[in-house]
Symmetry: C2
Subunit: 194 residues, 2 copies
DNA sequence: GACTAAATTTACAGATTGTAGTATAATTTA
DNA sequence: TAAATTATACTACAATCTGTAAATTTAGTC
C-alpha cells in the first residue's frame, strides 16, 4: 500500500477516518499511555490487524495525522500562489485565517494540542514561568491592572511565558549558542514593550 | 513508604537516583514509547519489582522527577525570603540565574525538555509557525538582516513562534474566551516591537 | 547486636504487540 | 457484467510487558 500517493479507495479512506476518529475520542477520555492499538481498533470497529496495514504503530499513526494537519493548515492560510511576496495586509489576513481555522476545528486541536499531551516537564516549567511572569506584570501595572498598552493581561501572560519557555527549549536544542547573560539581555530587549 | 517526606535512607536515595539516571539515559537513546519498566530496571541494575516500591508506573515516576526539577529551579532562583517584593534588578538576576541553572544542568534539561518529548503535533505546528515568522522577519528587516533593534534574528524567531503557539494553546485550553480577530489584534500589539 | 525497612527472588494471570496464513468482501478494470 | 485486484476480517502464535503477591536476603538504624 503506497501510503501517501494512492488512497482513493473508499475503503482506505473510511478505515483511516474511523481510526483517526477513534484515536481522537480516546485521547479525550484517557492519557496517551493508556491507549493501545487494541483499544483504537475496538473503538473504530475495525480489526486490530487492519491497523497494521496502515500504520507501523501508534506514534507512526500520529505522524501521519500530523502530516494531514499541516496540509489542512496550509490550505486554511489561503496562501497566494507564491508565498514570498506578501504585504502587511496579507500578514494580518493569514493570522486571522489561522486562528479561525483553529476555532472551526477546535474539537480536534484542543485534543491534540491543548490536552495533556504536553509532556510533564514542559508543562511544569510553563506553570512556573507563568507564575513568575504574572507577578512581574502585576508588579509593573500597579495602576493599569487589567490591560497594559491595550493588551489583555492574561494574554500578555500567555504570550510572555510561552515565548520564554519556547526560546529556552530552542536554545538548548541548539546546544546553547549564546551565553545565559546574552540571552537574558535579548529577553529584556524583546519584552521591553509588554 | 512516605514518598515525599521520609527519604533519608541511603538505599532509597540510591535506588531513586539509579532509576532516574537510567531513565534519562534511555530517553537519550530511544523514544519514550519504547521505554518499559523492564528496561529502566535493567539499566539501573535494580530489580523490576523494586521500581513498583517507589513509583506506580512510568508517568508517575516522571511526575515525581518533575517535582524535584521544580524544587531545584526554585532553589536556583535565589528567591529572597519573600517572593513578592522585587525590584527590576531582582528580575534581571532571577532571569540570569534561571538560564545559568539550565546551562549547568543542560544534559538533563536537554533530554527532558528539548528532545523529542514534545508531542508530534505541537512540534509540527511550531515548525510551521517558525517558517512563517522567519519569512515575516526577513521581509521586515530587508536591510537590518541579522539583527533587529539589537535582537538576534534567530532568537527573535524562537521568541515569536513560541509565544504564538503557546498563546494559541492556552487560548484553546480556556475554550477560546476571545474571538480570533480580537486575539489576532492582541498579537499585533505585542509583537509591534520585534 | 537486635530491630526495622528496603531490596531481591520467584511466580503468576492478564494484556499488548507484531506477524503470519487463509478466507471473505468490496472495488476497479477490461 | 465478469474477472482481477486489493482491502479487510478472522484465527492463531510467540514474545514481551504489566502489576501484584509471598517469602527471603540484605542493609541501615537505634
Amino acid at each position: 500500500m503506497d501510503n501517501r500517493t494512492i488512497r482513493t479507495d473508499p475503503r482506505v479512506i473510511r478505515t483511516r477516518q474511523l481510526l483517526k476518529d477513534a484515536f481522537i475520542e480516546l485521547l479525550q477520555e484517557m492519557d496517551i499511555e493508556k491507549i493501545s492499538v487494541n483499544r483504537i481498533a475496538e473503538r473504530a470497529t475495525i480489526n486490530r490487524v487492519t491497523f497494521y496495514l496502515h500504520y507501523k504503530d501508534i506514534p507512526d499513526m500520529m505522524e501521519k495525522i500530523a502530516d494531514d494537519m499541516i496540509e489542512d493548515i496550509h490550505r486554511s492560510l489561503n496562501m497566494t500562489s507564491e508565498s514570498q511576496p506578501m504585504t502587511e495586509e496579507d500578514d494580518w489576513t493569514m493570522l486571522v485565517n489561522l486562528l479561525e481555522h483553529f476555532a472551526e476545528n477546535a474539537k480536534f486541536y484542543k485534543v491534540v494540542l491543548a490536552s495533556r499531551r504536553t509532556p510533564i516537564f514542559t508543562e511544569r516549567l510553563l506553570n512556573l514561568l507563568t507564575e513568575l511572569i504574572t507577578l512581574r506584570i502585576e508588579r509593573m501595572g500597579g495602576d493599569a491592572a487589567l490591560t497594559t498598552n491595550g493588551v489583555q493581561k492574561d494574554i500578555a501572560i500567555w504570550y510572555g511565558s510561552s515565548a520564554l519557555i519556547g526560546t529556552i527549549v530552542a536554545w538548548l536544542r541548539k546546544d546553547m549558542p549564546y551565553t545565559p547573560v546574552f540571552l537574558a539581555k535579548q529577553f529584556t530587549l524583546m519584552r521591553s514593550l509588554s
